[in-house]
Amino acid sequence: MVLSLFDQFISPALFGVPLMAIALVAPWLFLPAPGVRWLNNRLLALETSFIGRFTSQLFAPINKSGHKWALILASLMIYLISVNMLGLLPYTFTPTTQLSMNLGLAVPLWLATVLIGMRNQPTAALGHLLPEGTPGPLIPVLIIIETISLFIRPLALGVRLTANLTAGHLLMQLIATAAFVLLPMMPAVAIMTTLVLLLLTILEVAVAMIQAYVFVLLMSLYLQENV
């Protein structure tokens, strides 16, 4: 198959049959659910311990009424990590490189936090628009700025995730292409390029996990403000 640089970002289809559903559901195959047994195998033990520790650490600063978000944020985290990591394999499609998907995750969740804040504690929610201790003349300007920043949040969340992953994948493809093309011509340079590719791969693995964590962390922060 001849691949151009952007083939990896095309919505996958085989003979016209869209495979997006498989790409979206793929992580479910790799994550077993805790079953009937009291003592599980290693994978389940690690999975349950990780999810438990992550959720308790994430929700520690949020007060009790926000804890009902635990399920959605924990599962979002697991999903994003697994989808990002699976996307690092060759010839795979990463759903989170699509802005549509990331905005689809960010906007409803962000909007939910804003609406919850406005409904339950409107004064406090509006009060977030003005930081403490601002000098008098700056107040109108600052309110406008804070409102803009409030509305930029979902865009920032979505675009951050998209841009990081897309850029990372694209960079890997570019450097791999460079190494591939340089191999017959200048093998030494090709080897240096392969080294760079190796380091970049390590970075991409880290970025995949960190971006998922940042997404969920920021969402929990918005929740903490508003709940």
């Binding site: 691949l3 290693r42 033990a45 311990s49 690092l88 890997m172 591939f180 392969t194 590719l197």
Partner: protein
């Protein structure tokens, strides 16, 4: 018909080997056993054996009789060469990506695999240890209770000796008290009798004295003055004679 065969053989394999766990529910389709989820067949201790991390050992065992030890390797090499030469797999930049991802993955697994596995095992072991500790504590407390009970029973045996000793004590006290009272009674009675005796003595003495006084008085009253002079003169002559006798005795 073949599906029935599969079900029947699946039932037979229920408890055994690596497929056992997965076939527990097979008997439920034929309703040959009561539908219980416990006890579950045990999980195998280790995963399936693999060579080079991905190829199951069974493949090598399968090919060994016909192609020997190098059989599977030849198969792999041939497959790879076939895919490459027929351009079913094209080497492009993604191959480099795959190689670098593969290298990172293999490095991470080799380096951190054992420690992660040990951590997972530790999680499970802590769970088991907690339950075991509860059980051990219960057993220890019951053993302690048994020993305490035995000690109490031993104490109860000694209690009858204690009661006997106490009973002896009390009997001794009673006896002592009784003897004291007896003694006191005897003393009192003796005192009363002594008093009576003393009284009688006094009476007798007083009577005697009175009688002696009366006799003396009468005798002295009956002595006439003439008799008195006669007796005095006799006394004087007696005394003189006596004095002479002693004087003579003294000089001889």
């Amino acid at each position: 018909m073949l599906s029935r065969l599969v079900f029947a053989s699946a039932n037979a394999l229920k408890g055994s080997g690596p497929l056992g766990a997965g076939l527990v529910q097979a008997s439920r389709s034929l309703h040959t056993s009561s539908q219980s989820l416990a006890p579950l067949p045990p999980l195998p201790e280790t995963g399936g054996k693999v060579r080079h991390g991905i190829f199951p050992e069974e493949l090598f065992q399968l090919l060994y009789p016909k192609t020997g030890v190098t059989g599977p390797y030849m198969l792999g090499t041939g497959l790879l060469v076939y895919l490459l030469s027929k351009e079913l797999y094209v080497i492009n930049h993604e191959t480099f990506v795959a190689a670098s991802i593969g290298a990172v993955f293999i490095y991470v697994v080799k380096k951190f695999g054992p420690s992660v596995a040990a951590y997972a095992d530790k999680i499970n072991e802590e769970k088991v240890a907690k339950a075991q500790e509860v059980k051990d504590q219960a057993i220890a407390s019951y053993t302690q209770d048994i020993e305490d009970e035995k000690k109490e029973q031993w104490r109860v045996e000694g209690r009858s000796m204690l009661f006997d000793a106490k009973r002896n004590n009390v009997a001794m006290l009673l006896e002592t008290n009784y003897r004291e009272r007896l003694h006191m009674v005897t003393n009192e009675v003796k005192r009363r009798l002594d008093y009576q005796i003393a009284l009688q003595d006094l009476h007798r003495r007083m009577e005697q004295e009175h009688m002696v006084n009366w006799v003396e008085k009468n005798v002295i009253g009956s002595i006439t003055p003439q008799q008195e002079k006669q007796s005095i003169a006799k006394c004087i002559t007696d005394l003189k004679a006596l004095a002479k006798a002693t004087q003579v005795k003294a000089t001889t």
